[in-house]
């Protein structure tokens, strides 16, 4: 019986020691993003002038002073755009529930400025949560932003004169100095945003 107790004690002691060692090792390792690609230096956004959902001019400074998660889409996109905006809204609400500070703003930049008026953008972005920003405007100004960020978009006929817009699916993270700081590539998941965004925003 005594021998059995000694063995049991040794096993327990070894397990506790191993657990402590693992905990200490993990404590020394900085948490790493699980999905995002981080640009340590950050890429400065170019100068541009678009319109926000109220029709007011919005230039580079609209991204200054806060963190933004930015998706490029269009309001006539029935599938992947509302799906992505929904995920971003869910992620933001979950971060808020966890007490995360700061909280990023969700931004939709239209790649279909021909149809996406500020009024259309206002209805659209408001649907996915409070405080969202929608940007639209002249195609030439939009190109300044998308070209600098490596965002692709192109009209594609779908028949009977209708069209969709092919576009990049990445979600970009813009820091308070209006620099591209990180990006998420599709497929997007709420859990990835919730895990990585606080790390990105803490690494400023």
């Amino acid at each position: 019986m005594q021998t059995r107790n000694v063995i049991a004690g040794l096993v327990l002691g070894t397990a506790v020691a191993a657990g402590l060692a693992l905990a200490l090792r993990n404590a020394g390792e900085p948490a790493a993003p699980v999905a995002a690609t981080i640009l340590p230096a950050g890429n400065e956004l170019p100068e541009f002038t678009l319109l926000d959902q109220d029709g007011a001019p919005a230039d580079r400074s609209v991204f200054e002073g806060r963190w933004d998660v930015v998706f490029f889409g269009f309001t006539n996109c029935p599938d992947i755009c509302p799906a992505t905006m929904t995920l971003l809204g869910q992620a933001k609400r979950e971060l808020e529930a966890r007490g995360s500070d700061p909280l990023p703003r969700v931004v939709l930049v239209s790649v279909d400025p021909e149809r996406d008026t500020p009024e259309a953008m206002a209805r659209y972005v408001a649907y996915f949560g409070d405080g969202n920003l929608g940007l639209t405007g002249e195609l030439e100004e939009l190109r300044k932003l998308t070209d600098a960020l490596g965002i692709f978009f192109q009209k594609a006929e779908t028949g009977d004169g209708a069209y969709a817009v092919d576009h990049s699916t990445a979600v970009l993270v813009i820091d308070p100095q209006a620099r591209l700081k990180a990006l998420f590539t599709a497929p997007h998941e709420v859990a990835n945003f919730v895990h990585d965004l606080p790390l990105i925003m803490a690494g400023e």
Binding site: T75, N76, C77, P78, D79, I80, P82, A83, M85, T86, Q90, A120, R123, Y124, A126, Y127, F128, F152, A156, T158, G159, A164, D166, H167, S168, T169, A170, T185, A186, P187
Partner: protein, 141 residues
Amino acid sequence: MRRLLVLFALVAAAAGCDSPEGPPVVADNVVVTAPGAGMPMAAGYLEITNQSGSDIRITRVSSPDYATVEMHETIVEDGIARMRSIPVLEIADGETITFERGGRHLMLMQPAGTPGTITLNFYSDDVLLLTVSAEFTATMD
């Protein structure tokens, strides 16, 4: 995403005879989402199972609640989403085709009003294959 109740799924005997085990074409897990009031379009998702005993072709979809319904597919390649029309959807006997987020979907354009129920009619040329009605969802969640 909120799953919606399929109120009924009726089938015209177009592609084959009625099976004693059930209707020849069956819809399941029907979801209709809309991006909000005032927006011009909604999206529909569902599963269609062909148990008619022969292959079928869906050539068009219509709805009394929307001016136009098109079958589309989102294809994501190299980080770019491309949406393309599906002119004809072929479903082999015994096969289930899924319309889902980020893939095949129904694009419902120009609503006739704000109905509480959406009816979708699936045709093979002029023959009605399947009618599905589902509650209209008000949210994306």
